[in-house]
């Protein structure tokens, strides 16, 4: 199966369309089966992937609009491989844990369409196809938030859509300009990323193009000050919506920086390290503080999620292999950990129909298993060593240390502040006496919830202890990326900043 990537993209699409036939009562099993097959297919992709090769693999290129250089061009490297697997995994987990009652058929089919867009974004190597999936992912999410959300769901859904849409249209102008620049230099129209990588853009053009792409990606991440849509979206979205949003959709933004901004505009990226880092630091510290002030459990997780995305941004703009590998790994761990935390909040919400911390207390004595899993995920979120969260956070910060130790120190407060708001959340909800009568009769996790959560716990601990199988391929591809950036960099500052690690130099 050489076309495994195409199968990965189109299998959920066809399953989603054919799913219209399946009756409401059986749709849940249908959804789980399809998502499970998709997940297995993504593992098959991993099996076919050669971890020693840092370039694009399983590549397929079919011309769609040859006159304008648009082609159906897909492939994976170590950076995107695991994000794709995480996307299929989190969709599967989300569908297993689905607690929605009304219109469940529409929900499951929407999730399948969303999966198409998610897989598509991460394997596209053509800017227009990338943009196509990128924009299309908004539609199912709009529906999920808007149809199954909380009270202010319409506002949240529309805000989510418009914010991202506006940013990405500016990015589209940037993409069209890059294509035009490529045409100007070579006489050929092409939107293929690998072609764009070969092009050296003058610094003056890199500067504004960097910000055009930045706007599109930063809104998605979401970077301060464009983050205001996210708490609303999380606050109103149903559990599965929050899981997918936090685990996968936010990663599109950071992935975009790695895939587009760094290799295409290396000089501009180095030039703007400091402004981007300052925004990231504000994001880390400010949203961590806001998270501490929240009374709603879900909002705590939502703001903590923004704070951690700030660390990922720092890692990316470290411009060296440690930082970028670390942030790609952190994308995965953040996806799994924050996804699991949203699931856990959803569990308690299904039972009590409230997410307010003050409504709980002493849950550990009533729901021991729940408290245990919540505890593990919380530690991973804080970044405790031997959990998955530690590896990524440590590497990202270690990478940025080479740029600025002082800023890294501020970024490092993310771990301390994270511990503060997370532990205080845990203390107030799980420890102490059971203060509300309604909490005394709560049932612990049922089989369905355990099926969804236990694999995530296993992954968090496995990759915390032994991250090598995943970190290895990521590192290989990231090193190839830094070599490319180093070669392309024109300004002396950029050459000096994009440090090649020892092993990379030896390999050269």
């Amino acid at each position: 199966m050489n076309d495994i990537l195409s199968v990965l993209i189109f299998f959920p699409l066809i399953a989603g369309i054919l799913g219209l036939v399946v009756k409401e009562g059986s749709i849940r099993t249908y959804g789980i089966s399809v998502a499970a097959v998709e997940f297995l297919l993504s593992l098959w992709m991993w099996f076919q992937f050669d971890p020693t090769d840092g370039g694009m693999q399983l590549v397929k290129r079919i011309s769609v609009v040859p006159d304008f250089g648009i082609s159906y061009y897909i492939g994976v490297d170590g950076i995107s491989l695991f994000i794709v697997i995480m996307a299929t995994l989190m969709t599967l987990i989300g569908i297993i844990a689905l607690s929605v009652k009304e219109d469940i058929k529409n929900m499951i089919l929407t999730l399948l369409f969303l999966e198409v867009a998610m897989v598509g974004v991460f394997v596209s190597l053509d800017a227009v196809i990338f943009y196509l999936f990128w924009e299309f992912s908004l539609v199912p999410m709009l529906y999920i938030i808007g149809a199954w959300g909380g009270e202010k769901r319409l506002y949240a859904a529309v805000k989510f859509f418009l914010y991202t849409f506006a940013g990405s249209l500016v990015m589209l102008v940037g993409m069209l300009y890059v294509a035009y620049a490529y045409h100007r230099m070579t006489g050929i129209w092409s939107f293929a990323l690998t072609d764009w990588y070969t092009m050296l853009l003058p610094l003056s053009e890199q500067k504004w193009l960097f910000w055009a792409f930045f706007l599109g990606f930063a809104i998605k991440v979401p970077m301060f000050p464009f983050h205001t849509w996210l708490p609303y979206a999380h606050g109103q979205a149903p559990t599965v919506g929050s899981v997918i949003l936090a685990a996968v959709l936010l990663k599109m933004g950071t992935y975009g920086f790695v895939r587009f901004s760094l290799p295409m505009f290396p000089d501009a990226s180095v030039m703007y390290i400091i402004p981007v880092a300052i925004l990231s630091l504000i994001m880390i510290v400010y949203t961590a503080m806001v998270a501490y002030a929240q009374k709603d459990m879900k909002q705590v997780v939502a703001y903590s999620s923004i704070s951690h995305m700030g660390v990922i941004m720092l890692g990316i703009f470290a411009m060296n292999a440690e930082g970028i590998s670390g942030s790609v790994f952190f994308m995965l761990s953040h996806g799994i950990v924050s996804g699991a935390l949203f699931l856990l909040v959803g569990v308690i919400y299904d039972r009590r129909h409230t997410k307010m911390i003050s409504d709980f207390g002493g849950l550990a004595s009533v729901m021991p298993n729940y408290a245990l899993i919540f505890g593990v995920m919380l530690m991973a979120s804080v970044g405790l060593p031997l959990t998955m969260g530690f590896v990524g956070e440590y590497l990202s910060l270690a990478g940025f240390f080479k740029i600025s130790p002082a800023m890294t120190a501020i970024g490092g407060t993310s771990i301390i502040l994270g511990a503060v708001y997370m532990l205080s959340l845990y203390k107030r909800s799980f420890f102490g006496p059971v203060t509300h009568a309604a909490n005394k009769t709560l049932t612990d996790l049922d089989a369905k919830e355990l099926t969804a959560l236990v694999p995530l716990v296993a992954i968090v601990i496995w990759l915390g202890v032994y991250p090598r199988p995943i970190l290895g391929p990521i590192d290989t591809s990231v090193k190839a990326l830094t070599v490319l950036m180093h070669e392309k960099a024109k300004t002396p500052e950029a050459k000096a900043t994009i440090i090649l690690s020892k092993s990379t130099k030896e390999a050269q």
Binding site: V64, V65, P66, D67, F68, N106, V128, Y131, L132, E135, F136, L138, V139, L142, Y143, G146, A147, R153, L154, A157, V158, F161, L162, F165, A166, L169, V170, L172, V173, L176, Y177, A179, Y180, W208
Partner: protein, 496 residues
């Protein structure tokens, strides 16, 4: 004593006139049939009209490129052929919309169909000439027929709409004639190629620029009225609201395409001559038009009025491309309008299906947003189709209009107008809000008791038209390449 003029029949090259002649002959044929036998059903006339348009399309496709004929009045270039194909396609999709399940007044008259064909012929004359007088004659033939078609809908609103459109149209006609007169005063000709030659020679003469610019501005005003550019757009929402939905949908495409062709010819000439004021005025008007109409569309309560403002904003979008005057920009106009044709006509047809005799949901409007609330629970297929049209109008890929927007913005970037490209992009984002509003009502609001009865005017013919529109909207990714190649080939073959 005047010398007798001898005309060689072969030099008239009647073939260039054949598309218009077919439409006119067809219209006369319909009138004759009506004269001979009364009480024939509208289905006969609908199908006859479609057949005549079909022959017309065949004749258009058979035209030889870059040909002139009929005392040099008719010019057959790429723009002519493309715009005639667009006009005929839109017309062929429009006419079957008369086959509704409910009876509507206007379709019981055979004259309706005759007038319609006269109008098509008028538009064809308009796009197939570079003679200002000929363009004017085509414009007026088409417009007078269109006023009547609107009024024939025979509601209080439609009469108001027809009179409003007539008044504004008359004003526009006046400006067109005055502009032509000013040009004639300077150049002594009404033929665009002649005008361009003389203007080139006389441009540097002192004091002449005022007249040249004055003529250009009056023509821009006339074009602005017909294409509905700010500040001459005010009639549009009211006229669309009063006209029947198919007519409104038709008006959002065909008259605008025809006038844009005139704009490409006339304004393109000024821009080629290096008169930058004209270009700047058009860009300014385009930017204000789309921004303002997007703002206005946000606050509408009626879907049809929203679509009216949306079509103004799309026209503004395309006018920006006209100001660029590159081959790519001119191609993008036709690509955009081909894709827009199917999507927009589809959306208006869905409104047409939901038409009731009485205003069931609102005191003033036929199609308020509330009417569509909770549609997904009652009519899931229709709701999904409408959502696809709305997403396409927003420019969400992979639906058709995304490719149009992509190509227009790309042409803008290529021409070096990055700021304009950013404005085009941001305007699409603003527009997303009001298209989403309808999707929100259809998918995310609870259904009311009345929602069940929305699709009351359903019929097979309408469903087929919608089916074609959906097909064209969804599968665009597969035909963008050949379409683009076809359009670009025709445009560049004629040197635009």
């Amino acid at each position: 004593m005047l010398a007798p003029i001898s005309v060689n029949l072969a030099s008239l090259n009647f073939m260039t006139l054949s598309p218009m002649l077919i439409a006119i002959a067809g219209a006369l044929g319909i009138l004759i049939i009506d004269l001979i036998k009364k009480d024939l059903d509208k289905t006969l006339y609908v199908i006859l009209t479609v057949l005549i348009l079909f022959i017309d399309l065949g004749a258009t496709l058979g035209l030889s490129l870059n040909d002139r004929g009929f005392f040099n009045l008719i010019v057959v270039d790429g723009v002519t052929i493309l715009s005639e194909i667009l006009i005929l396609l839109a017309s062929m999709l429009f006419v079957p919309l008369a086959l509704t399940s409910k009876r509507f007044h206007e379709y019981s008259y055979p004259e309706y169909f005759a007038l319609f064909l006269f109008m098509v012929a008028g538009f064809q004359f308009m796009v197939a000439s570079d003679n200002l007088i000929m363009i004017f004659v085509g414009l007026e033939t088409a417009s007078l027929a269109l006023y009547t078609l609107i009024a024939l809908h025979n509601t209080a609103g439609s009469h108001e709409a027809a009179i409003k459109y007539f008044t504004m149209g008359a004003l526009a006609a006046g400006f067109f004639v005055m502009g032509s007169a000013a040009i004639y005063a300077v150049t002594g000709s009404v033929e665009l190629y002649d005008i361009a030659r003389v203007l080139q020679e006389r441009m540097d003469e002192t004091g002449l620029m005022v007249t040249i610019l004055g003529g250009a501005m009056m023509l821009i005003v006339a074009i602005g009225f017909k294409v509905s550019l700010f500040p001459f757009h005010t009639w549009t929402p009211d006229v669309y609201e009063g006209a029947s939905s198919p007519t409104a949908g038709y008006m959002s495409i065909v008259p605008k395409v025809a006038m844009m062709v005139v704009a490409i010819r006339v304004l393109g000439m000024y821009i080629d001559l290096g008169i930058d004021t004209v270009r700047n005025v058009v860009i300014a008007m385009a930017v204000i038009t789309m921004t303002l109409s997007n703002m206005m569309a946000l606050v509408q309560d009626d879907v049809k009025r929203m679509l009216a403002y949306s079509s103004i904003s799309h026209a503004g979008f395309v006018m920006a491309a006209i100001a660029l005057d590159t081959t790519k920009a001119n191609s993008s106009i036709f690509l955009y309008y081909t894709l827009f044709l199917f999507t927009n006509l589809g959306a208006f047809t869905l409104l047409w299906i939901s038409r009731h005799k009485d205003k069931t949901h609102h005191v003033r409007y036929h199609h308020p947003y509330v009417k569509f609330s909770g549609m997904i629970h009652v009519e899931p297929v229709a709701a999904v189709i409408m959502a696809i049209f709305m997403l396409s109008l927003t420019g969400v890929p992979p639906f058709s209009l995304f490719w149009g927007k992509l190509y227009v913005i790309s042409a803008t970037v290529d021409a070096g107008y990055i700021w304009l490209a950013v404005i085009l992009g941001l305007n699409s984002a603003v527009a997303a809000y009001y298209y989403l509003k309808l999707i929100v009502y259809m998918f995310l609001m609870p259904a009311t008791d009345k929602t069940r009865t929305v699709y009351n005017n359903r019929s097979l013919a309408l469903e087929i038209v919608i089916g074609i529109a959906v097909f064209a909207t969804v599968t665009s990714i597969f035909y963008v390449q050949p379409l683009m190649r076809f359009v670009t080939a025709l445009i560049s073959a004629s040197g635009y």
